[in-house]
């Protein structure tokens, strides 16, 4: 049974990986990656890593691939236009790929690890279960766990900073009103009010910036554009 499943999932993983590299249409390449990840999850199950397999399906196939498809649709999904680099460089890159394959195969299969031809060590019934992995994550690997969560936070902030609009307000956007602005009375201290986007208090911002001028001209609706356009 293990052999049957392996020889279904393993070649499928390799073929789907080839599809990712070969297919011209980026959308099909991303879908091929989905097939590859699903067959890899099957291989993880065969290796008694059920929790990692479930995380693979949920995080990769569920979340990351949706992000890829979304960005693909946003950018436009044009096919890889000019068909690759010049022929000499293309053959050079294939040669590099084959060289990497040879190196990795020699490094793993050619190593004198005795257990590499065996089915693996004896393991308990709950090997790789969520309980076991969670216990490891919260006891022995607590520091890597926290570092990983911090890395995710930094990546989320970085993605927002990178992908935001940098050219101020679009024409006509000043007139957009959120539904909450109609419900909430003025002076309730919302965040948009704090930056002067909604009903700027006359003289509030200018009084903060230049107190000597006293009640200057009220900062009109341009403040939002300044805040959005301020970068670098």
């Amino acid at each position: 049974m293990n052999e049957v499943l392996f020889f279904i999932a393993g070649p499928l993983a390799v073929i789907a990986a080839l599809g990712v590299v070969v297919l011209r249409n980026p959308f099909y390449a991303v879908l091929s990656l989905v097939a590859h990840l699903l067959s890899l999850a099957a291989l993880f199950l065969l290796l008694y890593a059920p929790f990692v397999a479930v995380v693979q399906v949920m995080v990769y196939v569920g979340a990351v691939m949706v992000l890829y498809v979304f960005v693909n649709a946003y950018v436009g999904g044009a096919t890889d236009a000019t068909g690759g680099p010049a022929p000499t460089l293309r053959w050079l890159s294939y040669a590099i790929g084959i060289g990497v394959l040879a190196t990795v195969v020699v490094a793993t299969l050619g190593s004198s690890l005795k257990a590499i031809d065996s089915d693996g060590a004896k393991i308990g019934a709950d090997f790789g279960s969520p309980g076991q992995i969670g216990e490891l994550l919260l006891t022995r690997f607590l520091l890597p766990f926290e570092a990983a969560s911090f890395l995710l936070l930094v990546a989320a902030v970085g993605a927002v900073v990178l992908a935001r609009r940098r050219r101020g307000v679009l024409p006509g956007e000043d007139r957009m009103i959120a539904a909450l602005d109609l419900l909430a009375p003025t002076g309730t201290g919302s965040m948009r009010e704090g930056v002067g986007a909604v009903n700027p208090v006359p003289g509030a911002l200018s009084a903060h910036i230049t107190p000597s001028t006293g009640a200057g001209s009220p900062p009109a609706s341009g403040t939002r554009g300044d805040i959005d356009g301020e970068d670098d």
């Binding site: 052999e3 392996f6 393993g10 990986a17 990712v20 590299v21 980026p26 390449a29 590859h36 990840l37 890899l40 065969l46 290796l47 890593a49 990692v52 995380v55 990769y60 990351v64 992000l67 890829y68 960005v71 946003y74 950018v75 890889d80 680099p85 293309r90 890159s93 790929g97 084959i98 990497v100 394959l101 990795v104 195969v105 793993t108 299969l109 690890l113 257990a115 590499i116 693996g120 060590a121 004896k122 393991i123 090997f127 790789g128 076991q132 992995i133 490891l136 994550l137 690997f141 890597p144 990983a148 890395l151 990546a155 989320a156 970085g158 993605a159 900073v161 990178l162 992908a163 940098r166």
Partner: protein, 99 residues
């Protein structure tokens, strides 16, 4: 199934991903091929965890997944920023990092 079979699949997928990173020109597809390489590494980690009968390799595979998710978030943010700034979405044309 011997562990060597899984390692062979991992090595093949890693080499395919490396060739894809070199040949692809769309930055989105370069990221996709990077995912291939990361997943090949994950498969090798989990095979070795099975070989030794210890779960540390599986924990490390989870950490690799976190790193891959972070890389995807930042990388796709860069792709979107490139598209917003009307730069040609082609890694051969991207020679400067100036915003």
């Amino acid at each position: 199934m011997a562990i060597g079979w899984y390692l062979a699949v991992s090595a093949i997928v890693f080499a395919i991903g490396a060739a894809g990173v070199i040949t692809r020109r769309n930055p989105l597809l370069v990221l996709v091929c990077l995912e291939l390489m990361l997943n090949a590494g994950n498969l090798a980690l989990i095979s070795f965890a099975r070989m030794h009968g210890s779960q540390e390799g599986q924990v490390f595979a989870l950490v690799v997944m976190v790193v891959a998710a972070a890389e995807v978030a930042v990388g796709l943010g860069i792709v979107v920023a490139l598209y917003r700034n009307r730069v040609a979405v082609d890694v051969d044309e991207l020679r400067e990092l100036q915003g």
